[in-house]
Amino acid sequence: MIRRSFFGYLAARLPYETVQGGLPDPVDTGLPGGITLQIQVGADQKSLVNKKKTILKKGVEVHRGGIYGLFDEETKEITAPVSGTVTSVETRTGNYGRHFALVHIETSEEGDASPAFTEALTADAKGADSLTFLSQLPGRPAFKRLAEEGIHTVILSVLEKDLLTNVNQYAFQARKADFKRGADFIKELAPTARVVLALPLYLEAEAKEIGCETIGVKNLYPNGNPLLLAKRISGKAVEAGKSLEESGFLLFSAEAVAAAGKALRTQSLPQEKLVTLSLKNKETKLVSARIGTPVAKIFEAVGEELAERDHLILGGPLTGTSVYTSNMPVSADTDAIICHGPENMPRLTETYCINCGKCVRICPAHMPVNLLIRALENGLYEEAAEKYDLNSCVECGLCSFICVATLPLFQQIMLARHTLTENEKRAEKGGL
């Protein structure tokens, strides 16, 4: 738990981690014996996986840097970070009933890299094939989308997604040349778009070499939130309920831009993800792990041990997901891994909202959270979206952080949003 200052009338100040006074040396966790790749699938695809109707299935050989489709050859959605053999494909159900396919790959040695990416780059660096590869880089940069129509602003963000991580600030400082190469590539790809570099104020001096329009932001949560950044940069908020992409914005994290630069320089796909670890003894460590490495392997490398009733969180403390096993893999967008003991577990209570108004004060989207929660608790999702601005939420989790009645506000909001999107999808399908 964070202790607040005595002066409760001030808004809570939640500073991001920084990288100042010397760069840390990321711990390299090496080649894991086995990795797991995780991709989200729809409910209908889930049964396909369970009936073993996938192309990637037990016994298939994959090559490092090669790109594969799960259900057909055409839709390429998985890059193999290692060379090896697929041992099994299974599914799991995540938060709000989302489904994921898990592809386990066993590997014993580094093996030969697949030549596919180099070939694609030589053929046409800006071609669809090469962009498909680049979209799989750590940080999941949306290169494919960038080449399509309708993107008017690209944000290169050195800010973090959540607290307790500093991977983007590290990547920006430690891999400056690659970052610049990546940024230039992005500018070439979208010559008409406005490319803005958003970074914490203390790094502003270092932005000159990049040669982009820059914007300095206070290093306080939730200033790095993509929707809030878009508003800050364009002066106008993205229409409620629309995604960043639908409104013509794209956000590339600093790590992703640097990875793209490195890919272009070395003609091979970097598969190492930077992750900030927060261990039980409150130590933080920067590690560099192959995408797909199970968390347990990383813990082994840094000497952390999980005990019964611990809490393991992938992602930051405000928006992350807690998982039930340390076999869960690091994915291309896992910036932080947190582990803490049961004593830090925030307790929820059974009280109702007491209308203290703190959530309303802290919400960066100016939502009437106190009224919203009354609707959500009673399952009135449509009404919540119509009357109480459910769609404006930028999913920062601050309302839940501050709530005096310790209500699961964020959970209710996310569940409602997910349910509404699912309903919409279903209605569309039914209408066809």
Binding site: Y9, S326, N344, S392
Partner: protein, 318 residues
Amino acid sequence: MTDSTKLIVSHAPFYRDACTVMKRSYLIMAAALVAIIPGLLIFGIPAVGVCALAVASAILWELTANTLMKQTPTIGDGNAAMIGLILAMLLPATAPWWMVITGTFVAVIMSKTVFGGIGGNPFCPPALSAAVLMISWPHLMNFNGMLVNYDMAWSMVDPLINAKFFGAETADLYTTTDLLMGHQAGGIGAVCGAGLIIGGIFLMVRGINRWEICLSFLSGIFTSALLFHMSNPDLYAGPIFHLLTGYTLVAAFFLATEDASSPVNTIPMLIYGFGGGMLTVLIRNKGAWVDGALFAVLLMNLANPILDMIRPKALGKV
């Protein structure tokens, strides 16, 4: 994908601010005690009795309601105790026991539990209860009559009664220092202006009271009292007198700010507070009642749901 180490899983966020409902109630009670203790010293044992009875009976009423409705007991959040204590602040030291118990019944059961418990009450429970008592037994809530046996070094005539019926110059009988030190007739926790101000500032700084409400309430009192005073200095007492007498400060820091019955958006908070302050002075100077603070708070409670519809546009809404 499973292994034998059983981890705890929950939903984000995994950090929480350390404030809870229980802490909040206790801090409010602590702030109230700053004003109540001087009152206890002035009024002695009977006042202690009233406070103790009010807190105890409020908790018991809530527990009874919980038991009857087969709910898990909610007295742990301290809200019932807080309601009892704030109600005691409004009562005269010599209030009879049955009135105290009736008062807490109205405050806890009739104004909170029947509306669904904490957070659901449309009116501030202690204010509603004190108003009911005032209407039901006017003589028992009349500080002149109730405190007649107290022989003090200062005037034990309710300053508001004096000013209302005997003209504004009687206000000069009460110096500001006297009013701040609690040298006046009034409710147990309402006499000591200095204590109330210290407690109030504490609550505002800790972010428990919404400071917008407190300050706008006080400025509402000040502005309207000043206007009245300027229009007829013989008839109407000045703003400082109104700020420090009657229930003004209790209302500003403990009644108007009650969470569920007050707005949470900035502009509504300012209107709510300022309106409450103005109504208080209006009722005092023009109405039938000696002190309008309770009724002003209740009237503004009534307007709260409509006021709170004035809110900023949410992000990305057109």
